[in-house]
Every structure is written in structure tokens, then in C-alpha cells.
Symmetry: C2
Subunit: 348 residues, 2 copies
């Protein structure tokens, strides 16, 4: 076996494709959306800033659950803009990755690496012909226009057979509202966004409402969150706001959700300790002021006897060695695994 | 403070630039090379396969040590081919990242993100004006044609002032010979290649002779390794070979080094447990056969009483959760940190 720098299984025998819309979609908070893989409700379109509406087209956090007895799995997909960034690999921006259940745990199987707007890749092959449960994660920073899964022509593919990590219609999903970090910047592949890791860890559906650069506690977003059935809401938007926005908007934003969703649990996440803060004195002072404002909103809510509001400190979110980011801000898979482990302590 | 998806400090006041050739270069095994940032000896040029010679132009593992009292650090650099890959971000392929010493430990400061063949970026700003020790890591999968560091016009920049992580002329460096993984595929930034992490962990110079897809135990490479002063040699080439190559070449390759470098310590690294092996039966069988051949070479050397030959099992190299890679083969920062932690147990 020789692994080079262009390793990926592109060969395949006779493969039949099934449109992912025939399988189970996880992570979608709203039934009626602009396109099948969009993330905001069509009914509210006029109320959102255009940046939010555009970012909602990115399929961050969406995942497809299915079951198959194939010996190989292929993916055929088309992305919307074929965009690129210089601090996140194409596999994370617009690739698809696949996990399978083994003894109750989800294990990574392989990555469908994007080559263009239209893509086709064999993700795994040479397997024994056994019925397996799958979850595939969709592009984080591009839109998914179409998606199909390919299996051996004589095998079957269909809805999940095991009742693990399924779509929750009873409010059991966890909704994450936030920034580029929440959206998955800069995971190496979609399954390593922290919302995806947590989904596998906790075996719960997660809904990703991360909007790169735009997690600013818009009133329109609070209204949208109120419409989602999820009864656990994680607010991780601080890196897109500042002390002024927190002072002006945070309390009302959170109260709207608390008032609209009786019994909802709300987790208020502090800024992580970005590694550059050790050196950049100006930014450190700004974030410190913002964190103080955020905590005072939490204390006000506690005084008002909202018992289901929790505070997640940012101290350990990204780890303590300063190595969790690609650029001082956006998490790598390393930072995201630490995020997920820290969040899991609260959300379990 | 608002972090978006294009965050990076690009503004700068009056900056003066110093060519990195006036500072201390770490990680270069051979004095006379094709260009200043090449990795193989010019004298041996005719003996190397052309793929090796070409890959030697990639500045993987090279790093610049310096000291400065500037409140900001900028980087100006030109890469050779401006290449890209779909499973590794441009920051890792052709970016530059910077660390500073704080209480005896190296901390990440920021990343100079590449935008073109010629690049310029402010890596860190808003610092107190204090004398600091620096190490900057060079592009992993592209060549470095030129490199300068920018500091505030009224500050100083020069050779390291503290005797930590310096160039070793006494054989104290650790040489790594291997594959794309050794070369740093797919770290998010150059400082997260496992050889770079280990350098900081152990405070020792590391020399990266990783050649993507081409770590095949060529005789020319054994001859080159014999010329390097490093008295610690890690052989991590198995993912580029197969059982046949191990049978035919490994023993002679290692004996050449042992015979030419009295007292050398050699670490024979097994294949890591690639996550896909849980599912891909064919590849699992191939790698298992290869590992057995590799171990039998080790046992033969032990029987011949080579006491300074060590075996590093691949069982835990990439961790045990299957999450350390971007594509089933190449490590992310997460996989690389695990690699470094595992290697450190042996190399400390």
C-alpha cells in the first residue's frame, strides 16, 4: 500500500445512486426553507438581514442518516458557489464525510473530497457485506444543491434501522446559535464541526444556526429560534458581538426565547480564550469587557429566577495550550474536539 | 470586537523588514542546497529520483529563530509554485506561523495567511514593547523563495537571545525521514506538523525529511541521512512502502545508517492505525503484512546486538477514536498533536 498526497478512492464498480431526500435529514430546524438544504424559515425571509439569509444557504450542521448493506459507499453532490478560503480546507468547506455505527459508537469512515462544483467520490470500499448504520455530514461553508449516495448495485439503502441519533420531533434536539466557529470554521471536514462531534457524543440531533461573522443577536434570529422545537438552546455568539451589542441586545434576545418556549434550557457561552489574547493587549481588554457584560445579563436572569439558564465559561473551551486554532480565532479539529468535550460536561 | 470569516490583522504602521537569512535557520540538514530553503544536499543531486528533488524544494520543517522588542510582527514572503490541495488549507501548505517563548514554553501567536505567490501579513500587534524570543515556521507543501520579518521601525530584531531551541551543531537534532504525514500533511499551519510540535515540546531542533508519496527507503536517501550530524533518526516511512519494499530495502537502509553513524539512535515507526482499517478489509490486511515485515527487520537488528534501535508501535499514534485525520490517512492538527505526544514518550 502506498499513500501519496493524492490518496482517495475514486474507483468504483457498478454503483446505484439514491437521492438523499429519500433518507433521513438531521439538523434542519425549519420545515419550509428556500431550498431543501437551507437553514432559515422561508416564512421569515423578509425579516432577516441579507447576510444571514445568504449564510443560511450554507448547509452547516445538516447530516443524512441511512442504513445499507453495501460493501462500498460513494457520494455524488453539487455545491452552490464552489467557494474557497485560505485557512480552511475544501474538504471542510464543501466536502462530505461519513461515519458508521460500531458497537454503539460512531466511527469516521472516509471523506468525499470536492474537486469542482459537481463532485463524485468513493468514500469507503472493501467492506464486508453487512447491514450498517450511517451518518453523512454536509458542506459547512457552501450550499448543497444536490446530494446522492451510491451503493453496490445489488445492495440496499434506506432509512435508519437502529434507533440511534435520529431526527427529534419532540424538542430533544440541541440548537446552537452563533458565529463562524459555530458554523464549523475551520474544521477539516464537516463531521468535525463541534456541533457534529457533540451530536455523535450525546447521540442527539444538533441544529446549527452558526452564521459566519453575523451571530449578532438580531431580533429576527430570536424569533426564528422561538419557532424551532428544540428545548435546549446554546448561545455561542459572543465572538461576533461586542460589549455594546451585549448591553443593548442580549437580555431582550434571551428573554424572547425564555418567554416563548416554556421549559427551554439556555446555555450562555462566554468568549473562548483566543490564543492571541496572551499577547494582544487591546483585544484582550475588549473581550474582557464583553465577557463582564455577558455575565451580568446571566446574573440578572438568575435574579429574576430563571432556573434553566446556565453559564459556560470560555476558560477551557479551546484548551489551555493555545494550539486549538488555525489563525488565533477559528478552531481546527483539535480545538473543536476540546469545545465538544467541554460542552458535553454541561449538555449530557 | 467582531470576528468574521476573514479575520486577520492586515493593517500596520511603519514597519521595517529584515531578511530571514540574517536570523537563525533551524531544520536544515545540509549546508549547501539548491536554494537557501531546500532540504537535500546539492552535492547529491544526480543521485535522487526527480520526485525527491522536487519535494525537497518544499520548506517543510524549516523554522526561523529570532528575538525582537517590537509591539507587532509582520511577515513578507514569496512561495515557489502557489500550489493548492483540497484536503489541506493554504495556511498549512504555504503560510507562515509564529510562536513566542513565555515562561519557558512556546505559545502560538498568529498566522500569516497566504493570498498569492507574494504575500504580506501582520501576524500579531498591540503587544507591550518587551524583548521576546520567536520561532516562525515555513510553508510545508510549497517552496519558500524569500522571507522577511517586519518589526516596528524603532524596534530591534536579531539573533535569539535566550539559549532555547537553537540550531544544533553537535548532533543533538532529531531527524525524521518519512512520507506526506512527516512532511506535515495535513496540518492547518506549519507549526502543527508533528516534527514542529515535537521541537517545541522537547526544545530540540528537528529536521524534516518527509517526502509526500516518496518515503520509499531509496539508497540515495540513506546516503543523505548518513551525512546529517543528527544522532537521533526516526524512520516513519511505512505508509509509503509495502511489504515487498520492506523485505527488499529496510534492512540495508537501516544498516547503512547504523554503520556510518556510530552511536546513532534509530527509531523504527510502525504504520499508524488509519481509521479506515476498521472497515476496509483489503487495506487492513496489506498494512498488517507490512507491519510484520518491519518488526522482523527490527528483531533481526536486535539479534545482531544493535542496542540503539527502537520500535515505536503505531497502535496509539493517531489516537484511538478514529478522529485524527482529514481523509483517513493524513493527520489534522488533532492527529499531529497525538503523534507528537506519543513520539515524545520515546524521544524525551
Amino acid at each position: 500500500m502506498c499513500f501519496g498526497n493524492t490518496v482517495s478512492g475514486q474507483s468504483a464498480g457498478k454503483i446505484k445512486y439514491t437521492d438523499a431526500r429519500e433518507l433521513m435529514l438531521l439538523g434542519k430546524g425549519f420545515d419550509v426553507t428556500e431550498s431543501y438544504y437551507s437553514r432559515l424559515p422561508l416564512s421569515g425571509k423578509d425579516g432577516f438581514r441579507k447576510e444571514l439569509w445568504s449564510l443560511a444557504r450554507n448547509s452547516a450542521g445538516l447530516a443524512v442518516r441511512f442504513s445499507s448493506n453495501s460493501t462500498s459507499i460513494a457520494v455524488r453532490w453539487t455545491v452552490m458557489t464552489n467557494m474557497s478560503m485560505n485557512h480552511m480546507p475544501a474538504t471542510g468547506i464543501k466536502g462530505v464525510d461519513l461515519y458508521s455505527l460500531d458497537n454503539g459508537k460512531w466511527y469516521f469512515m472516509g471523506t468525499a473530497r470536492p474537486t469542482d462544483k459537481e463532485n463524485n467520490a468513493v468514500v469507503i470500499k472493501n467492506m464486508t457485506a453487512k447491514q450498517r448504520e450511517y451518518i453523512a455530514y454536509l458542506p459547512l461553508y457552501d450550499g448543497t444543491e444536490s446530494l446522492s449516495f451510491g451503493v453496490d448495485s445489488l445492495s440496499t439503502i434506506g432509512m435508519p434501522q437502529e434507533k440511534v441519533l435520529l431526527k427529534s420531533d419532540d424538542g430533544g434536539a440541541i440548537l446552537f446559535y452563533g458565529t463562524s466557529i459555530t458554523q464549523g470554521g475551520c474544521a477539516s471536514r464537516p463531521g468535525m464541526a463541534y456541533t457534529a462531534i457533540l451530536g455523535r457524543m450525546l447521540q442527539r440531533e444538533t441544529i446549527n444556526l452558526g452564521f459566519s461573522g453575523n451571530g449578532r443577536m438580531d431580533k429576527s434570529m430570536a424569533e426564528a429560534i422561538c419557532k424551532v422545537s428544540a428545548q435546549t438552546v446554546v448561545l455561542d455568539c459572543l465572538p461576533n458581538t461586542n460589549a455594546q451589542i451585549v448591553r443593548d441586545s442580549a437580555y431582550n434576545f434571551i428573554r424572547m426565547i425564555l418567554d416563548a418556549k416554556p421549559g427551554v434550557k439556555i446555555y450562555m457561552v462566554e468568549n473562548p480564550v483566543f490564543p492571541t489574547l496572551r499577547f494582544d493587549q487591546k483585544t484582550a481588554a475588549e473581550l474582557s469587557e464583553e465577557n463582564i457584560e455577558w455575565r451580568s445579563v446571566y446574573q440578572k436572569l438568575k435574579k429574576e429566577r430563571f432556573r434553566n439558564v446556565y453559564f459556560i465559561s470560555g476558560a477551557k473551551l479551546a484548551g489551555c495550550d493555545g494550539e486549538g486554532t488555525v489563525d488565533g480565532v477559528h478552531m481546527t479539529d483539535l480545538g473543536f474536539l476540546r469545545y465538544a468535550e467541554e460542552f458535553a460536561k454541561f449538555l449530557r
